[in-house]
């Protein structure tokens, strides 16, 4: 059984008359201990997908369809009260900006302890001990002092560690990490990645890693999902997808990375911009920028298998199905 199983998740933005179809029929699943990377350029709907799974969409964002199953339980049918019990317990989420995710006027201790006590009937001092252990586990030195500190007294990297500690403190089955390393410099990025990787190994946590950095996905994820304009255009095991992309968009992303060509030579680029999604264009959403587009692309391409454990949403994939 997967830890998370999402089927046909669809999210609209704005009024019912002319909504933007920001996320369209996204399906994904994550197994225990697996890291799945969700990549794509800015605005492709990655964050919305993550928020929808955690049940954190607020107006004007609306989930208009799809099923979300966490550990066999259908979250989409749960009332908010029940959903709240799952959040921070079985399912946790961390966000991009470590400056903003912690409440600036509450001590670290308060924020950790309240997370424990929101879900488990634990005494204050027991919760505090757990918090201390957790800080230690995420690699914070002098955890006892840090507990008394306010967020602004910590460095960016430490803050992100604390946020991760708060997310993991109830041992969730699933961690949704929405670009938690983007705001940090390279050294810190690597440390955080290593930290989560270690935790996953120790506890078997499933991780949905949202990022726009293919490099991160490459080094860290088991599987990768590539999103474009609200749709998943390609999925598959990380190594294979990045090595031999099936979708032209994935190929373009890889070709644009400096280092993919000799220094001084031009990088591959794509013309144009992603389409507006209100309403989304007919047919293949990548059509307008696609070097391989043909007349047939006027129809919406189905998601098809492209080799073992791989899918692609394209009539003319770069990798032919076996």
């Amino acid at each position: 059984m997967s830890v998370l199983d999402v089927k046909d998740l669809t999210i609209h933005i704005g009024d019912t008359k002319s909504p933007a179809h920001a996320v369209d029929s996204v399906s994904l699943h994550i197994e225990r201990g697996e890291v799945v990377a969700l990549v794509g350029e800015s605005g492709s709907g990655k964050t919305l997908t993550g928020l929808a799974i955690a049940g954190l969409l607020d107006p004007p964002l609306r989930r208009v369809g799809g099923e979300i199953t966490l550990l066999g339980e259908d979250l989409s049918a749960l009332p908010e009260r029940q959903l709240r019990r799952r959040r921070g317990d079985r399912l946790a989420m961390v966000f991009q900006d470590p400056m903003a995710t912690l409440n600036p006027v509450l001590r670290i201790e308060t924020q950790l302890v309240e997370t424990i006590r929101a879900h488990r009937n634990v005494g204050r001092s027991a919760a505090r001990d757990e918090a201390l252990a957790m800080l230690d586990e995420v690699g914070i030195t002098f955890p006892a002092q840090r507990l008394r500190a306010y967020p602004h007294e910590l460095s960016g990297g430490m803050r992100q560690r604390v946020a991760i500690a708060a997310a993991l403190i109830n041992q969730p089955a699933l961690l949704i990490a929405d670009e938690p390393t983007t705001a940090l410099d390279v050294t810190l990025q690597a440390q955080i990645l290593a930290l989560i990787d270690q935790y996953r190994r120790d506890h078997g946590t499933a991780v949905l890693w949202i990022t726009h950095d293919l490099g991160v996905a490459a080094g860290f994820a088991d599987r990768v999902l590539v999103m474009y304009a609200g749709q998943i255009v390609e999925s598959g095991p990380c190594a294979r997808v990045l090595h031999a992309p099936a979708h032209p968009y994935t190929a373009a992303l890889l070709g644009a990375i400096p280092g993919s060509v000799p220094p001084g030579t031009p990088l591959a680029t794509l013309p144009g911009q992603p389409p507006s999604l209100s309403p989304p264009p007919e047919g293949c959403r990548f059509r307008a920028r696609c070097p391989r587009a043909e007349a047939a692309c006027i129809a919406a391409p189905p998601q098809v298998a492209a080799g073992e454990a791989r899918t692609v949403r394209c009539f003319f994939p770069l990798v032919t199905p076996p």
Binding site: A190, G215, P258, P266
Partner: protein, 245 residues
């Protein structure tokens, strides 16, 4: 060796921090005795972790920030404080680097007009500048918020080039962009270097980008230059994220 185009000598910069309640003042040494020479037509990259002083150095070179100590030379001449003709800069956050209340045409033409660099028709001038950075001249009447991120970055470059600089300082000019757009900009800079013989100082924390664009790389750490090397042979920088790919 011939005279460098630009030379910064023994630059130091310290910031005064007023800290907290007790108003304890401490100083932060952002740059410590940094010297850097740029030869005409050269592309030099600066890399370093966050807070290592890259932006501070860039601003001092551009003349936006008077250094606490040290001197700048332009073709051997000592430069007074303040900006100077011939040095321009492209900023990291293109959105904040463009006045949101000015149309693209005004953004590009304002300074050349004041400095008397426009000989013919102003709209032709703007069109030429826009085409040079690969933008549709139709965009001239738009406001910055009506442009995409990549377009904004290009307008920023076009504006800098419109006053015919010899040295272009790019402070993380591509850091906030998606890879696809980043690639466009990198290509554009390559092309401009070739065509205009521009000298480029390119600051980034992404070693891959610098390696792609520059011949020479300077590594900064804690306000000092710790290493200077040809782009291909760099070793000193901890490069966690890229090392695994």
């Amino acid at each position: 060796m011939n005279e460098p185009l630009f030379h910064a000598r023994n630059i130091s910069q310290s910031y005064i921090l007023a800290n907290g309640w007790r108003q304890r003042r401490s100083t932060l040494q952002a740059l410590d005795d940094v010297s850097l020479a740029l030869h005409a037509g050269e592309a030099v990259g600066i890399v370093g972790e966050s807070g290592s002083g890259k932006s501070t150095l860039a601003r001092i070179i551009a003349g936006l920030l008077p250094p606490t100590a040290g001197e700048r030379f332009w073709q051997g001449q000592r430069l007074p404080d303040g900006p100077r003709d011939g040095i321009q800069m492209v900023f990291q956050d293109a959105a904040s680097a463009l006045n949101p209340r000015a149309r693209v045409a005004e953004l590009i033409a304002e300074a050349p007009r004041i400095h008397g660099l426009i000989t013919g028709d102003e709209s032709d001038f703007v069109a030429t500048q826009l085409s040079r950075v690969g933008l549709d001249p139709q965009l001239a009447q738009r406001y910055p918020h009506q442009l995409s991120g990549g377009q904004r970055a290009r307008v920023g470059i076009a504006r800098a080039l419109a006053v015919k600089p010899q040295l272009l300082v790019c402070d993380e000019a591509v850091a906030a962009l998606d890879v696809l757009i980043q690639a466009q900009i990198l290509n554009l800079l390559q092309q401009l270097r070739r065509e205009l013989g521009l000298t480029l100082l390119f600051i980034s924390h992404d070693l891959g980008v610098v390696r792609h664009l520059c011949e020479r790389v300077v590594v900064m750490h804690h306000g000092r230059i710790v290493e200077t090397a040809a782009a291909g042979q760099l070793v000193g920088l901890p490069q966690a994220s890229l090392s695994r790919s």
